[in-house]
């Protein structure tokens, strides 16, 4: 009997040990390296990617082209006569002081529920919820009917008690909500940053017309605004509330895509940090091609490499892209390094600092996340920029 129990105990120990080895970041990296089907997954660059010269996607004959391309992008995303009225934003202040209102949403919980959990964070003054109407009473044809449609996104606005006068926008990507970044947000609040947190269109808490599938909403005119208008309006609201000294943006996965494109669109973003979520199209693998990111008018207005240049141009502006080399999901390997030099070269030709654009490879884990190492590098970069900077962005 005792032998049997000890054998079972050994099995339990092996199960526990196996899980620890599989999930602990350093051993997980080793497992992923050893089990990779091809060396091109993490270790070496597939020669097919070396056949393309990144400069063929970088067309900037002169400095004026920066403005031309930015305007073209803005037209594609926002339309010809965009309206950004911050009075339409429904603000619910200090949600953290209210009784939590919890009910299930897709992929987890929402701010109404989580705010009470965050209320004891060091240096937190309050958490506001911004309801941002992206589509308001628009008529579109759907299944032989004319439908009136609405879509409102909800954004979390985390305010510190003692502020350093700087704002950080954090954007989550697919398959998750921004509450997964709660440790990073907590740390930023502790450091005195204000934080605005965004979910991707269709994720987290949102309101939409009854009987209208999310997948059909991109049929509206200028569908890219579904991704970018909430960021633009929330930023307008924040700058209306306080003259922030700087606005930086961090995004993970598809949130990194939003970060890259939004930083190219809007020069109020000083530094942008897309993490594991954006490559020029020629470097993308099949699971790195979601339809909104390949929207033809967007790519006609500017290539992704050109967007990186746009995001890194202007006084004090820069972009640091972070890629997880052993990412189990996507945007892995050292591919980000293949175009870094070309973007730097074009920036120098345009009279900008080549150092405005950098690519950082994170080798500390094998996950699809903003790691402690990645965030430390981002914070170090922000602090360096803060020290170098003078004046306010408003």
């Amino acid at each position: 009997m005792t032998r049997f129990l000890i054998s079972l105990s050994l099995l339990g120990m092996l199960y526990g040990l196996g899980n620890l080895v599989y999930y602990w970041d350093p051993t997980r990296v080793l497992i992923k390296k050893l089990t990779a089907k091809t060396t091109y997954r993490y270790e070496k660059i597939d020669p097919k990617y070396l056949e393309t010269d990144p400069k063929t996607f970088l067309n900037f004959p002169d400095q004026k082209e920066l403005t031309t391309k930015r305007k073209a992008l803005q037209q594609v995303v926002y339309g010809l006569s965009p309206q950004f009225d911050i009075t339409t934003i429904q603000v619910k202040k200090n949600l953290d002081k209210e009784k939590p209102d919890c009910y299930k949403i897709w992929l987890g919980t929402h701010l109404n529920c989580k705010a009470a959990e965050y209320k004891d964070w060091p240096n937190l003054a309050g958490i506001d919820r911004l309801g941002i109407p992206i589509v308001s009473n628009e008529q579109i044809p759907f299944e032989r009917k004319e439908l009136t449609i609405n879509y409102t996104a909800f954004v979390g606005y985390f305010r510190p008690q003692t502020s350093n006068g700087r704002l950080i926008l954090i954007h989550q990507g697919y398959a998750g909500v921004y509450h997964e970044q709660h440790r990073h947000i907590k740390n930023l609040i502790k450091l005195g940053y204000s934080v605005m947190a965004f979910n991707l269109y269709g994720y987290g808490l949102y309101e939409r017309s009854q009987g209208f599938p999310l997948g059909a909403l991109p049929a509206i005119p200028n569908p890219q605004r579904l991704f970018f208008n909430q960021v633009k309006l929330a930023l307008n609201y924040a700058l209306d509330q306080q003259a922030y000294k700087s606005v930086d943006m961090v995004g993970l996965s598809a949130g990194a895509w939003v970060t890259s494109v939004f930083a190219a669109l809007d020069t109020r973003i000083r530094a942008s940090y897309p993490v594991s979520g954006v490559f020029p199209v020629y470097l993308r693998e099949p699971n790195e091609k979601p339809a909104p990111q390949l929207y033809p008018p967007l790519l006609k207005a500017a290539s992704y490499l050109e967007m990186f240049v746009l995001a890194s141009s202007g006084k004090g502006r820069r972009q640091m892209q972070v890629f997880n080399r052993y990412d189990r999901c996507c945007y892995r390997n050292l591919k980000g390094k293949l175009y870094e030099g070309s973007v730097k070269e074009i920036l120098a030709q345009l009279g900008q600092s080549a150092d405005n654009f950098t690519v950082l490879i994170d080798e500390t884990h094998a996950r699809h996340k903003i790691s402690a190492y990645g965030m430390k590098a981002i914070l170090a970069d922000m602090t360096k920029n803060n020290l170098m900077e003078e004046g306010a962005v408003k």
Partner: protein, 65 residues
Amino acid sequence: MKTILGRLYLALLILLLLLPPFFWWRGGMWNHGELPTHGMQNATAGAGVALLLYILAKWLRSKQN
């Protein structure tokens, strides 16, 4: 020899029980749809059950003696 092995095994189980929460606390095993929780819970549960079974086996043996 048996006692030394037993003590080493016990120490290993206790270490295994404590390591996942330590890594979780340090912030290395969490985030983005891959909350550490499932990995941590599995590792801790395995070590916890192993520890309980081992203690039970030792107790039964001491009763038999």
